[in-house]
């Protein structure tokens, strides 16, 4: 169809020379096997590594060592449990209630999960040097309730089965402690941290939606939280 086609007016897409191929830097499907950062996916990674290790590789370009692998595993399992009170799962619940497709629900929840990941990564970006100093938890990072502190203590105890976790992580709130485990696992950059958080949060955000019955609006608390409309001060037309 391009033969004989003529642009209606000249533009940058006609006058610029563009590459003729997409440039891949992570996934190689051209060497007879599928490789991620050089590693054979089915004959090496699938045999020797758990899924969270492969995600760690996809994000950082490095494979974790044994201790890092365990920390990422524990953190990601914890992150994958997203309560319906949190925006990603709440959105999924509402989308399903409205009859959305699974693709739509997952897309919406994944977006909200990525947004939450961005927020957590930003809120807790100072954790890395703080963990290294071994100082007590700063107030914004501390567990707010005893139940949360108990949960975090359990998670840290599990993490310590195969890795070293600094004592000051024990008194953090849940999300901060999950971030701290990823930091302890060698996730060094803010981008990598955000990407791993987004992956883990999005994988769990759909579970409530899948159990929601489409159309069951009478079971949904439409006024939680309550919105109160107050007409803005009317501005006169100019």
């Amino acid at each position: 169809m391009s033969e004989g086609w003529k642009a209606p007016s000249p533009g940058a897409f006609e006058s610029t020379t563009w590459p003729d191929k997409l440039l891949a830097r992570a996934v190689d499907e051209q060497s007879g096997a599928v490789r991620l950062h050089g590693y054979d996916v089915v004959r090496d990674l699938a045999v020797h590594y758990r899924h969270s290790d492969v995600v760690y590789l996809a994000v950082t370009g490095r494979l974790p060592d044994e201790a890092q692998s365990w920390l990422v595993h524990v953190a990601s399992v914890s992150l994958s449990t997203v309560g319906i009170n949190e925006a990603p799962a709440h959105i999924g619940h509402l989308a399903r209630l409205c009859g959305a497709t699974i693709a739509s629900i997952f897309g919406a929840t994944a977006l909200a999960a990525a947004d939450a990941a961005q927020r957590f990564a930003s809120e807790y970006r100072d954790l890395q040097p703080w963990i290294a100093r071994g100082a007590p938890a700063p107030v914004p990072y501390a567990a707010a309730a005893e139940s949360e502190a108990t949960y975090v203590q359990s998670m840290v105890t599990t993490a310590r089965r195969h890795a070293t976790v600094p004592a000051n992580v024990e008194r953090l709130n849940r999300r901060a402690s999950e971030v701290a485990l990823l930091v302890c696992a060698g996730v060094e950059t803010a981008e990598h941290l955000e990407a791993l958080l987004a992956w883990a949060l999005s994988s769990g955000a759909i579970s409530e939606a899948l159990l929601t019955i489409p159309g069951e609006f009478n079971r949904y608390p439409a006024v939680l939280p309550e919105f109160r409309y107050v007409a803005p001060e009317a501005e006169p037309s100019k």
């Binding site: 950062h37 109160r228 409309y229």
Partner: protein
Amino acid sequence: MSVPPIYTGVGHTGIHELHFKGQRVFADLLGATTLAQIIGLGIGGRVLTSDETVALDDIVTAMSSADPRLWPFKITRLAAAGGAASYGIACTLVASEGGIFGSNRLKQCAQFLTNLAEVQESGRLTDAQIRDALDTSASSFGVLYRNKDERFAALVKQTIARRRHTLPYFDLMQRVVALGRERQLEPHVFLGVAAVALDLGWSPYEVASVALLLLFHDALPNAVEGAAQRSASLQCLPTTSVHYNGPTPRKSPRAQASDDLP
């Protein structure tokens, strides 16, 4: 623990009447309001006059650059290729966040102009001050793959034709552009869009939302056409379309230790 209420000025749905940004929809707006006016009301909280409405019309019309080869709308096409137009629009809007073509950039352009306007209101804004400000105005200048932004030129021409070029922000913007061009800085169309929108009385935060409107406008026909076409090549290009330039084949530490991989 009780959950505090959230106060909203956007809307309320009643049985007999809808309220929208302080207006009664059925009683006051329906039949008396154009598309541009209702969108302008949503953005700025005020029904635009007919003179102001054409300024919004001109922005949207001048920004009708919907070529699917443009990066934002290539995203639209890729996302809609499975058959859902909504995914095309959603992905376009989402991918604009923080990028060079979205609301952040337009907000920065508006903020750049309002910062200068504040100086102007407090006394005399000198050319030297504007030149200093140009050092921090990267979002307002720069055009990809061409010498000038044809949309900026068209919007300026049309704004002059509408006789809205003497309004405060547009006047200031023209002065800034003239000084920028002394440094071979070519304005991005968003600088012009910001000036026109600020002259409607909108804040930089409100002006930023115009970028979403513009993206929606150009993404919509791409999403609809793309969803109908369901292009197989957009769903997945052949692997021969990919050049790999990453790590060469290697064995993982665990594979090396187990020696089970040739």
